[in-house]
Every structure is written in C-alpha cells, then in structure tokens.
Amino acid sequence: MIKQATGGWTGKILRVDLTSGKSSVEPVPEDWMHDYVGGRGLADRYLYEEMDPTVDPYAPENKMIFATGPLTGTPVPCGARYMVVTKGALTNCITTSNSGGHWGPELKFAGYDLLILEGRAPKPSYLLIYDDRVEVKDASEYWGKGVFETEDGLRDELGIPNLRVACIGPAGENLVRFACIMNDKHRAAGRSGVGAVMGSKNLKAIAVRGTQGVPIAEPEAFMKALWEMRAAMDDNPGKKAFNDFGTAATIDLTQTFGALPTRNFQEGQFEDFEKLNGVAIRDTRMVATKACFACTIACGRVTRLGEFSDKFMVNMHPRNWKQAGEGPEYEAAWALGPDTGVGDLDAVIKANWLCNDLGMDPISMGSTLASAMELYEKGVITDDQVEMPLKFGSADALVRMTEATAYREGFGDELAEGAKRMGDKLKHPEVFMGSKGQEFPAYDPRGFQGMGVAYATCNRGACHLRAWTPAIESSGDADPHSTEGKSEWVVEEQNKSTTHDATGVCLFVGFAGATIELMVPLVAAATGVPYTVDEFVHIGERTWNLERLWNLKAGMTKADDSLPKRLLEEPHKSGPSKGVTVNLDAMLPIYYEERGWDSEGVPSKEKLTELGLGSL
C-alpha cells in the first residue's frame, strides 16, 4: 500500500495553452510521483505520454515542461533547481535543461510541481503566475529587449517586488539554436536550445510570485536529515574550493590532465589558462560571491568589468556600464576562452555577460565560434563572408560575434545554427565537436577517457552533468586513459544523477560532501514515501530508459551515440594526454550490455519490464 504523499510535492500541475490563453490545474497521478520522484523524471513521463517525439521542435505541438522537485523550495542545501523538459531545438532529442536561482522555488511556492506549456501564442506574450492567478499577457513592449531589461521592466510594470522572472533574450526570439532560458538575470536553463523553443512559442517571459508554503510529511526526520547533510558539507574541502574559486577552479584540473580542449579540440592544454582560472577571476574581477536559493556553497561569482577595463564597454547600455554580472563559470570560461584561444579575461567576461543578457548558451556559442575559427584559418571561410577576421585568440571577434549571433547579423546568422548545422552547410562536418548535435562541454575525452562514453550516450546530447568521470579519473581511482570500468561507472552515475536531478537539488552538493545516502532520507522525510538508495538508483535507471525510448521514437539510432573523428583518430601531439585517442568501440558495447540494451542500443523487453516500463 502506497502511503499518501503529504509533503514535498504540491501534487498540482499548471497547464497553460498558449494558443487560447486558457489555463487549468490538475492533480499529478500519485503512482507517477512515486515512480519518478518529480522534476526531470516526472516531466519526462508527461512528455512521453502526451507528445509525439517526431514533431519539429518549433512546432506548436512541441510541449515545454518546467518541473520542480520535492526538495525545490526547501532548505536542503541547493534545493533551488528546476528542469526544462522539451524537444531540443539544437538536438532534436528530449532535453532536460536545469537551472538554479530563485525562479524554481517561486513556482513551487505558487503551488505547482510542474508547469506544462502547450501551443503557440498568437503574438509576443508573457505568462504571469501569482499563486492561483494565471494570465497570458501582451509582451510586445519587451520583445527585442535583453534579459536584464525584461526582468526589471516586468517587475516595474507589475509592481511586485518579489517577482521572479524566467525569460528569453533576443537570441531566443531569433531562434538561435542554442538560445537559453534565463532566470533571475544570470541563471540559465542553458543547453539544447530550450530558449529557441520558448521563442517559437512567442513566449517572452514567465513571471512568478508564490506566497504558499512547502509542507513536510515527517518534520522531525526531515530536520534531522537536513542537519546531517549540512554537517557533512560544512568543512568539506570541495565546498570550500567552490566557494573560494568558483567552478572555474576546474581549469587547473583539466589543464593538468591535458583535457582542457583548446582551439576547437586541436590541443589539450591552453597556454594562457592562468589568465582565466578561478584564482584570476577571484583576485582580479570578482566583487562578490552569490548563492542560489537555499545554497550553502555560493559558487556564483559576481564580476564587474567597468571599474577595471573600458575596452569592452562598447554597445553596453549606459545603465549597465558599472553593473555587475555573474560569471563566468567554468564551462563559459572555457568555451569563450581556451576553445576560441582567447586568453583575455575581460573579453571572456564581456562575452559571457552578452550571452546572459541576450540569452544564449556560452558553451555552444564558444564552441561554434571555435569551429568557425578553425574553418577561417583553414581558408574555408573567407574574408568576404565575415565582417572581421575570425582568428583563434581574437578577443574582438569573440565579443562582436557573440552579439552578431544573437541578432543573426552577417556571419552570426550561420553561427546561430550551431556548429553541426554550420559545418554541414559549409561541407566541413568534421569541425563539429559534439554529439547528437550538441557541442561538447569542457572536458576532452582524450584526457578523461570515460567522458567519451558519457558524451556519446547522453540522452540530451553531449553533456558533462550526467556522469562526470573526472571524479574517478582525476583522483587516482581510475586510469584516465584506460577504458576499463568506465562504461560501468558511467551507467551507475547516470542513474544516480538522474534521480538527483528529479529531487530539485543542485548536483554540486555531490562535490561538496553530500552523498546520495544523505539525500535519500531527505526526499523520504519530505514526501513521506520511504525511498531507499537502491530504489533511487532504480528510479534513475527507469527515467534514463524512458528518455532513451523517447529518443528512439524521435528517430535516433545507434549512429547517434557517436563522437567526432577527431577524438577517435587524432591524438594530441604533446602534453599529459599525448598519443591518446578515445576508444569508443571498446566502451559502447559494454555500456549497452550494462544497460540491458541490444547491440543497436534498444532497451530489451526484459529490461523495460523490470523497470515497470513494459507497457510502453
């Protein structure tokens, strides 16, 4: 007998049909809540149930789900996350794009676990959610404006000081394939083009204010587990490092292992890495550390350009000249830095700031530009096609092309399609460094072999957040260049991180001393459902397989579980990862076997039955 949920979840879904502007509230089926925990898992289940995976990402039939977890809005450290689940504009796969800040908890406080958006608004609109009050309103005044202005404008217009806003920038409006959804100005549901999907729905923003509370099923057990987790994190060196140096501290790690992709993955180490790392940012440009909701780590960096450098002040709105912006975090610092060969921290900060204000994923932006730079240096892209030389290391090109991409000006129109589509169009598909259409994040699998199989098999295209193999490969627990044990570890980690995502807690707590064993009692106490660690992993596996089924229905095949030729055949010529290539052929079959999938990567009937997905 399943116990009735009395906390954690609100048990309610808000469904908004943007075409008609009508909204409705419905209960979540209880067995789905239990079987998927919430967040990513529950949203996956809805998307699988309600949507044809073959539709175009920009079609009104594509649905967008904003999902909170049972711990979103609670004081569990970093319980700030929400997940955007839809068909990715960049990848044509199911995408699960996660963000922190304060918007997710606010949606929970408004009383909803999930927000499902359907259809397409007839004109530029924004959605206002103030507890039970739900309205689709005219956004023509904000269309074309940047993220910062939109958020400030909505707060002024509505006169609600505690309003939280998730919105798209010009990039999302212009259907830049890797546009993101920004919330609280600097936080992003960044990857796979969720912002472009929102743009295709004519939806500029979702403004939320919630005044209700999140109840807890077993208060005593919850507070006990909460303080156990807080205590475990308190003196953790990982937590301290994140707080001191931000995520950009990782630059030193990847550099050491020859796994810092440089100049579009042509090299594995960057000569100017010390100009962009965590120490450089903290010591020269940081004005404050910033935390997301309920976060006890505070890895966020608030940086300011104005007081230090006026070189990249051009085109900035005067009001923002002295304004601080967030970032760059590691991935952005890498993509806009080493990957484009730019070692100028001010340029990287400016380009990152532009990505935030214009609403673009800096990983894909930097990586796409790096591909273009490679083609420019090889003479494929010529001077008459571009407004300025796209040379590796050009700070000016970085800043200008970031802006041009968001507005699809000049060659920016090509960059806006992402590296895969651009490479295909220019008949040089080999410059695309990614998988399933999505550009790689900042780990070269030739330095961390396991990342190869993690990238190739990720359901949302290349991603570092589903199985971060440097955890074992940089600690001495596993040989970074060997394939041994990697597939098995990746499968296990993907399962764990998937349920972790479903709870609404940031994955970073795992790097700061909070193990899954500390997390599970919190979910159990909050919801009143007696989850165990094994069940948690099982739920992750179920969700992962569900996403896989969705992708197979969308037309993905084994051929999409692939890596570019460069990683498979071209080793680095120097550095710690010299001579290594990625042996995906060795890892992928083991991965499939571990997963209980056939040689074509299709989940077996037995596996699906075991996971309770037999009827799908």
Binding site: P75, G210, Q212, V214, P215, A294, A298, V302, A324
Partner: protein, 158 residues
C-alpha cells in the same frame, strides 16, 4: 543580553534565514511568511538580511493602543496575539519596517528571537546572522551609524 548581529557583507542571498523563520512561524517552508527578509540590491551585488532590532525604545510598543506588544525574558519585543486587534499602527510606527501583518489573521507579527534561539542565525551558512552577546540593542550597528554620520557631515559641509 543576547542580540542578533547582521553583517550584510557576509550574506550571499541564499534565503536560508527566510526558510528557517517561516518554518518556525508556519511549520512550512514559506518565505512569504518570514519575519526576516533578505533585501537584494542586484546592481550593487549586495544582499541585506533585516529584521527587528529589538529597539530599547520600541516605537511599535509605544504606538500600540492596547498594549499588545510586550517584552519577554530575553528582552525581545513580542506580539501578544490575544490582545492584538489588528490596527496596523505598530507596522507604521516601526522606523525599520520590520513589523508585518499576517494576511490570514490580519494581526501583527514580528521577530521574537524564537524565545532565545533564533532559527535564522542557526540556519545562516555564512555567519551573516549571528546571535551574540551585547550591551544594548543595535550595538553592532554603531560602526555603520558612524559611517553614515560622517557621510552626512561631509554632505552638509558642501
């Protein structure tokens, strides 16, 4: 006596204090009902938690027409629920804006230092809020007051 010491410079804007306070007030995590509020100054990248300073000369107390605000053993000024008539005078009288009214009951609500163990201070991960020993209310506030005062003198000279 012990008092809340708030150092805005240490605050990262995580809202753990609001969550902890609302847990005490409502038994739920509900920042809208918190009696400590974190003010966010986005463009300055600064965050300032603020709540009742437990003034020695408490204007909320003086303004109350029915003596519904009393002093507990820890020197905290507390709203006596049975006496409060919901006239909102205390919310207007407070120069810091730290007396609220609860929408459900329309009665006043303010920080009572949780009876001597403030949940916000316990929850704060960066020690931006501490419960410390002091001579009089607002002790730790003096430095800030001096700074503002010197700015005032500067401005007056110009």
């Amino acid at each position: 006596m012990q008092m809340l010491k708030i150092v805005p410079e240490k605050c990262t804007g995580c809202m753990q204090c609001e969550l902890a306070c609302s847990w005490v007030q409502t038994g739920m995590f509900q920042p809208s009902q918190s009696l400590i509020r974190v003010n966010v100054f986005d463009e300055e990248a600064s965050y300032a938690p603020y709540t009742c300073l437990q003034c020695d000369e408490a204007w909320c107390m003086n303004a109350c027409p029915v003596n519904a605000i009393g002093i507990d053993s820890g020197q905290a000024k507390v709203v006596i629920d049975e006496l409060c008539i919901g006239c909102h005078l205390c919310t207007i009288a407070c120069p810091f804006g730290t007396v609220f009214t609860l929408p459900e009951t329309d009665k006043a609500a303010k920080c009572n230092l949780c009876g001597g163990d403030p949940a916000c201070a316990t929850a704060c991960p960066t020690d931006a809020i501490e419960f410390v020993e002091g001579q009089q209310a607002g002790d730790w506030f003096e430095q800030w007051g001096d700074r503002v005062h010197s700015r005032y003198l500067e401005a007056a000279e110009k």
